[in-house]
């Protein structure tokens, strides 16, 4: 029983983290969103039903974690891509990199 209660609690925490992650990436995400409502419903339903009906004992917790991993992974991937997005350097920039200067040009 205590074990089951702990699991319910950790599902709840995962759902809370999902909500805070979604708020970070989606400015239109509010308690009025269908996604928000669904998540809240799940967290409530989880306390009663899943322990009885789910196939794997940790099913609801695992699914919540999968979704969290997906949302969090996508955000981090975007951040890393933004941080390291290359773009070629211009001739001037490459020259400056090795301490050289291009001759002045007059157009």
């Amino acid at each position: 029983m205590a074990e089951a209660a702990r699991k319910g609690l950790s599902t709840l925490n995962t759902i809370k983290t999902i909500i805070s992650e979604l708020k970070k990436v989606d400015k239109t995400f509010t308690p009025a969103s269908a996604q928000y409502k669904f998540l809240m419903e799940q967290s409530r339903a989880d306390q009663v039903t899943t322990r009885r009906y789910s196939k794997a004992e940790n099913e609801s917790e695992s699914v919540a974690k999968l979704y969290l991993a997906y949302v969090q992974g996508t955000r981090r991937l975007n951040e890393l891509q933004e941080k390291y997005k290359g773009g070629e350097k211009t001739v001037e920039e490459s020259a400056r990199l090795v301490g050289l200067k291009l001759p002045e040009r007059k157009y």
Binding site: D26, K65, L66, Y70, G73, L77, L80
Partner: protein, 269 residues
């Protein structure tokens, strides 16, 4: 002046034609519409971008049978900022692929492709040359093989010789094939995607059956690389990027399989 103008024009034109330009976000609100299919009595769900219905690349209206999946796909679209990152919307991509089936795959071809992975599965080949790596492989990979064997009653074994070709015997493969074929077509698309992402059927299997979470699965899939990085250092722009990408691929595939295999909507009799 003319040089500058030429530069500007070239730049503008090349941007227009480039395959690298991303489409802008052309909608504000994303909603899920539920419809009752008169013939089967099942609910189908569609995605609305403002007032346009989301269509697949094949030009058909995207129809989903799982409400949570529809919500998650809608969330992908509403999480986009200025430009659409279509390549990162993996659930949308999987749903499109499952519906359009662009490679004209069948249950047979997909199960064969997935089954082929077992013969060369990442976690079945241990390296004896590096004692640290070998220890990690015993710790991280052996439990995954055990999970598979105890669930399906197979006797798949790890090998220390990469030329070994009987890590799974015919009987084991038949049992695994039977498990694979329990899935419906969309779930199979997800299973193939998961397997190919982590280059291992066994890791994908463990993640799908909720034995391990995504983090542990990716650790197992990149075990050798991480062991090397312990010695030589981690390069964020390469290793970090790859890790997050694998995380999103595997978790999206597992979710896709789960939602297509567990239908919560009640059927009308």
């Amino acid at each position: 002046m003319s040089v500058k103008l030429g530069f500007f024009v070239r730049r503008f034109v090349s941007n227009q034609a480039s395959a690298l330009t991303k489409p802008g976000k052309f909608y504000k609100e994303v909603t899920v519409v539920n419809e009752l299919d008169e013939e089967t009595g099942n609910q189908t769900h569609k995605i609305l971008l403002d007032n346009r219905i989301l269509k697949t690349q094949g030009g058909k209206v995207l129809k989903l049978h799982s409400y949570p999946l529809a919500l998650a796909i809608a969330q992908e679209w509403s999480s986009q900022s200025e430009y659409l990152q279509l390549g990162q919307m993996r659930l949308t991509g999987l749903a499109f692929t499952a519906q359009d089936n662009p490679l004209e795959q069948s249950v047979d071809t997909i199960s064969q492709k997935v089954l082929d992975y077992v013969d060369g599965d990442t976690v079945l080949f241990f390296n004896t040359e590096n004692s640290k790596l070998h220890r990690y492989q015993m710790e991280n990979w052996a439990p995954l093989i055990n999970n598979l064997n105890s669930d399906l009653g197979t006797r798949v074994r790890a090998s220390e010789n990469i030329l070994d070709c009987d890590v799974a015997n015919a009987n084991d493969k038949e049992k695994i094939d039977r498990w694979i074929r329990q899935h419906n077509f969309p779930a199979l698309v997800g299973l193939q995607y998961a397997t190919e992402s982590v280059k291992s059927f066994i890791i994908a299997y463990n993640a799908i059956r909720h034995h391990i979470d995504t983090e542990v699965a990716i650790d197992a899939a990149t075990l050798e690389q991480r062991t090397q990085a312990e010695t030589w250092g981690n390069v964020e722009w390469s290793h970090g990027l790859e890790r997050e990408e694998l995380m999103t691929r595997l978790s999206a595939a597992c979710l896709f399989i789960y939602f297509n295999s567990n239908n919560f909507t009640s059927k009308r009799i």
